[in-house]
C-alpha cells in the first residue's frame, strides 16, 4: 500500500480507512495562528476559526503538502466550506486549491439515510479505487488505534491521567499515522500508574466542540479532574465499537461512521444524547461543565433539556459562556463546591 499522499480531512466522519486503503495518509486540518485574509474577504463571521483557517490556507496555497481534501456532510459549516472552496476554485483559477472531495454522509437515523449513506460510501470506494484487501488492512490498522484510544480513556477513568493530557494525546489519532500512534501508546501508558485524581471531583465537559485543552486546564487548576468530554476529539474519538471485520468492509466502514460517530446533525435526539445520558447513568460524575458560548448556534437548543436531565439526577453543573482562557472565578467556585463521591 502506497502511503505517500496526504489527504486533509475536516472532521471525524471522513472514513479514514478508505483514504488509507487508497494510499493516502489522512490528516485532520487544524487551526493555526496567524491572519486569515482570504477568509476575512469571503467568509462571514459565523464560521468557526478552524474552518476559516482551513479556507484561508487552502485559498492561499499555503498547504501544498495536501494532495486532496475530503469534507463530510457532518456539519453545516463543512457543507458551506465545501461550496465556498468550489466557488473559489471555479472563479479564481490561480488559487491552486487541492482536489476536493465531498462525502455525503447523513446523520438522520432513517432507513433512507442509511441506504443513501451506504451507497455514497460505495461510491467513495470506487472514486478512490480502494481494493477490498486494502480496505481490510486499513480497518485493522485503524481499529488498533481505536483500541489504544480506549486504553488512554481507561487510564483516565482510573484517575491516572489528566483530562488535558488525554485530550492532547488523542489528537494523534487524527493527525498521526494511526499505525504509529497505536504502536507507541502501550509503552507510554505503561509508566502511568500514579493516582492523580484522588479526592478530586470528576467532571464531564459537555457542549460546543472544544478547540483545545484550555478549558480542561482551567478545571484542573481549580482542583477538578476532567474525566470525560462529549467531544469527538476526546472521549468519543474511538466510539463504542470497532469497524466490524466480519462483514463486507464497505458496509462495516459505513456503519461505523453512521452509527458511532459524533455529529451535530444526528437525529433523533435520543441518539444524539445517548452517550451523555449513559455517562451520567454510570454514576461516576460529580459535576458537569456546560460549554455553550454565545457564538454557538446549535448546542444551545439542546442545553435546557440536557440541564433538566442532569437536575433530575441531582448532579450539579455550571454554564460557561465564554471561551475562557484564564482563571475564571465562577468556574473555580463551582469546582471548589464539588465533592468526590
Amino acid at each position: 500500500m502506497r502511503k505517500d499522499r496526504i489527504a486533509g480531512i475536516t472532521s471525524n466522519t471522513v472514513p479514514w480507512e478508505i483514504l488509507r486503503a487508497a494510499g493516502y495518509t489522512p490528516l485532520l486540518l487544524e487551526d493555526e495562528a496567524g491572519p486569515t485574509p482570504h477568509a476575512d474577504r469571503w467568509m462571514e463571521d459565523v464560521f468557526d476559526r478552524r474552518f476559516r483557517v482551513i479556507f484561508d490556507r487552502l485559498c492561499a496555497g499555503a498547504w501544498n503538502h495536501l494532495d486532496a481534501v475530503v469534507i463530510p456532510r457532518t456539519s453545516e459549516q463543512e457543507h458551506k466550506l465545501y461550496l465556498y472552496l468550489r466557488e473559489i476554485a471555479r472563479t479564481q483559477p490561480a488559487s491552486a486549491i487541492p482536489e476536493l472531495y465531498f462525502y455525503n454522509l447523513l446523520h438522520t437515523r432513517t432507513p433512507e439515510s442509511y441506504d443513501y449513506g451506504l451507497e455514497r460510501t460505495r461510491q467513495m470506494v470506487r472514486d478512490f479505487d480502494a481494493s477490498e484487501d486494502e480496505l481490510r488492512a486499513a480497518i485493522v490498522e485503524s481499529n488498533r488505534a481505536r483500541g489504544r484510544v480506549r486504553d488512554i480513556l481507561q487510564k483516565r477513568r482510573e484517575g491516572r491521567l489528566e483530562g488535558s493530557a488525554a485530550l492532547e494525546w488523542i489528537r494523534g489519532f487524527y493527525s498521526e499515522d494511526r499505525g504509529v500512534f497505536a504502536d507507541r501508546a502501550p509503552d507510554q501508558l505503561k509508566g502511568m500508574n500514579e493516582q492523580v485524581a484522588t479526592h478530586r471531583p470528576h467532571i464531564l465537559i459537555k457542549g460546543a466542540p472544544l478547540k483545545d485543552a484550555s478549558l480542561h486546564h482551567l478545571v484542573e487548576e481549580a482542583g477538578g479532574y476532567v474525566v470525560a468530554e462529549d467531544d469527538w476529539r476526546g472521549s468519543r474519538a474511538a466510539g463504542d465499537t470497532d469497524v466490524c471485520l466480519n462483514k463486507d468492509p464497505v458496509t462495516a466502514i459505513f456503519e461505523k461512521y453512521f452509527y458511532d460517530e459524533v455529529s451535530p446533525r444526528v437525529h433523533p435526539v435520543v441518539h444524539r444524547d445517548a452517550w451523555y445520558q449513559r455517562e451520567i447513568e454510570r454514576g461516576h460524575l460529580d459535576g458537569v461543565l456546560f460549554y455553550v458560548p454565545l457564538e454557538d448556534d446549535v448546542l444551545g437548543w439542546d442545553y435546557p433539556a440536557q440541564l433538566a436531565y442532569l437536575a433530575s439526577r441531582s448532579i450539579p453543573s455550571v454554564l460557561v459562556r465564554e471561551n475562557v482562557r484564564e482563571h475564571d472565578p465562577p468556574l473555580a467556585e463551582f469546582v471548589g463546591s464539588l465533592h468526590r463521591k
Partner: protein, 421 residues
C-alpha cells in the same frame, strides 16, 4: 406604511387572512389536521393531500410585523435558550408555546398535527424537535445531502434539465423521503395519495410561476417600476404558500395583469424614481417602511427582491411524467440556490443586470447567523461589476437589534454617494 397601489395586493392580503381564519375555524371546530413547515418544504404534497400547511417563516414575519417578536424572543431567552440562537425559525415556536400565546396575531396558531422541516442547517432540527415535543405532534425531517455537481448558470437548466442538474442520487433520496412524508399525510388526513392529482397541481404551479415571470419581465422592461418591491412580496408569497391552488393561480394572474397593464400605461410606483435598488435577503419584517423611506429624498426605489424572481427560476419544472421526482428537484437545493455559492451570487448578479439595478442592499442576518452564509460572495460579485453595496447587518424578525433611525441615516449617506456617481 406606504399605501397599497395594486388591487391585487389588497386581494392577496385579504385572501391570506381569510385562508388563515378558515384554517383556525376548521382546526378548532372540526379538528381538521394542519401542519407547520419550513418555507423550503414541498408545500405541493400538503396541498395535494389537502392538509393545509402554515409556513414557519411566514408566521414569524406576521408576528414580527405586529411588533410582537421582542416579547416572545425574551420569553425564549428566559427559558434558557441563549440570545445567540437563530430567531427566524424559532419565533413562531415561541409564539405558540411561551408566555401569553393568545397575544399572537389573529388568535395565534392552533396545535398542529405535523411539523416538518428540511435540514438546511444544524439548528432547525432542534427547533422542530422542541416544538414537536411540546405539542406531541408528529415530526418529519427531510435530510439534505449536498450538491456536488455545480455547473454555472443553474437557472438555464432548472426548468428542462433538472434531472441532470440536481443529481440523480439526491433526487431519488428525496423521493424516498417524500414517500415517508406521504405515508404520514395519508395517516393524518385519511386520504390516499394520488400522483395524477400532484401532477395536475404541479402543472398549475408552472402556470402560476409563468404569470410571475411575465410580471417580472414587465418590471425589468418598464422605464420605472410599476410595482414596489413590498407589493411584489405580498402578492407572490400569498400565492406561493398555497401554490398550485385555483386561488393562487388566479391571484398570480391578477397580479400579472395589473403589473403588465400599469407598465403599458407607464404608471410608475414612484414617479420620482431615479435609483433602482435591489434587496438581497429575507425581508425586514418589523420595519417594512424602510423600503419606501428613500423614495422622496433620493428617488431610490426598491424594485427587486428574491421573492418574485425566484418564482419562475426556482419553481418551474417542465416534464412532469414523474411528478414526485420533479418536486424533489424543486426541494433539494432551494435554500442553497437562494443564499449560497455558486448559485446565489451568479443568479443575483444576473438579476441585477436584467433589472438595471443601481445599488444593492445586502442583508447579513444577525440573529440568524447560520443563514448569513453566502452574503460575502454576493456582495463581492455585485461590487466587481460596479454595483455599490450597502451591507445591512440586522435580523429579519428581531426588532431588538434594529436602530431604525441610524439605519436610515447610514443608508441615506450611502445613497447620497450612489446618486452622485
Amino acid at each position: 406604511m406606504a399605501q397599497k397601489q395594486l388591487t391585487s395586493t389588497i386581494a392577496a392580503s385579504e385572501g391570506q387572512k381569510a385562508w388563515f381564519a378558515s384554517l383556525r375555524e376548521r382546526v378548532f371546530e372540526t379538528r381538521a389536521p394542519y401542519a407547520i413547515g419550513q418555507a423550503d418544504m414541498p408545500f405541493e404534497l400538503f396541498q395535494a393531500m389537502e392538509v393545509p400547511m402554515v409556513s414557519n417563516q411566514w408566521w414569524a414575519a406576521v408576528v414580527s410585523a405586529k411588533r410582537l417578536a421582542p416579547y416572545y424572543l425574551d420569553k425564549l431567552n428566559e427559558t434558557g435558550f441563549h440570545k445567540g440562537l437563530c430567531r427566524y425559525c424559532s419565533l413562531s415556536m415561541a409564539s405558540t408555546v411561551l408566555g401569553d400565546t393568545s397575544q399572537a396575531p389573529w388568535g395565534g396558531l392552533p396545535k398542529p398535527s405535523l411539523l416538518a422541516a428540511r435540514l438546511t442547517c444544524d439548528c432547525v432540527q432542534r427547533v422542530f424537535e422542541n416544538w414537536a415535543a411540546h405539542f406531541r405532534a408528529e415530526l418529519i425531517l427531510l435530510d439534505a445531502p449536498a450538491a456536488t455537481h455545480l455547473p454555472p448558470r443553474w437557472w438555464e437548466q432548472s426548468r428542462h434539465h433538472w434531472r441532470e442538474l440536481f443529481e440523480d442520487h439526491r433526487l431519488q433520496f428525496m423521493v424516498r423521503q417524500f414517500e415517508r412524508l406521504i405515508a404520514s399525510l395519508e395517516r393524518i388526513s385519511g386520504r390516499k395519495f394520488d400522483p395524477d392529482r400532484l401532477r395536475a397541481l404541479m402543472e398549475r404551479v408552472n402556470r402560476q410561476e409563468e404569470y410571475f415571470e411575465e410580471a417580472k419581465l414587465a418590471i425589468c422592461e418598464a422605464p420605472k417600476t410599476p410595482v414596489r418591491m413590498q407589493e411584489q412580496i405580498t402578492n407572490v408569497m400569498a400565492a406561493q404558500w398555497q401554490r398550485g391552488s385555483e386561488w393562487a393561480v388566479s391571484q398570480a394572474k391578477a397580479f400579472r395583469d395589473e403589473v403588465v397593464s400599469r407598465a403599458a400605461q407607464r404608471i410608475a410606483a414612484c414617479p420620482n424614481e431615479r435609483l433602482r435598488i435591489m434587496w438581497v435577503g429575507a425581508g425586514l419584517w418589523y420595519d417594512l417602511d424602510f423600503y419606501t423611506a428613500f423614495e422622496e429624498s433620493h428617488g431610490a426605489v426598491f424594485v427587486w427582491s428574491m421573492y418574485l424572481a425566484f418564482g419562475p427560476d426556482g419553481y418551474i419544472r417542465y416534464g412532469l411524467d414523474d411528478p414526485l421526482l420533479a418536486l424533489a428537484s424543486r426541494t433539494v437545493s432551494m435554500n442553497e440556490q437562494l443564499h449560497n455559492p455558486p448559485w446565489a451570487n451568479e443568479w443575483i448578479l444576473e438579476q441585477a443586470r436584467s433589472h438595471r439595478i443601481d445599488a444593492a442592499f445586502v442583508l447579513t442576518p444577525l440573529g440568524t447567523r447560520p443563514s448569513a452564509t453566502g452574503t460575502r460572495f454576493v456582495e463581492i460579485a455585485l461590487e466587481e461589476v460596479g454595483i455599490p453595496v450597502f451591507s445591512v447587518h440586522a435580523d429579519m424578525v428581531d426588532a431588538r437589534l434594529w436602530d431604525a433611525e441610524k439605519m436610515r441615516r447610514d443608508a441615506s449617506l450611502f445613497l447620497d454617494q450612489v446618486g452622485r456617481r
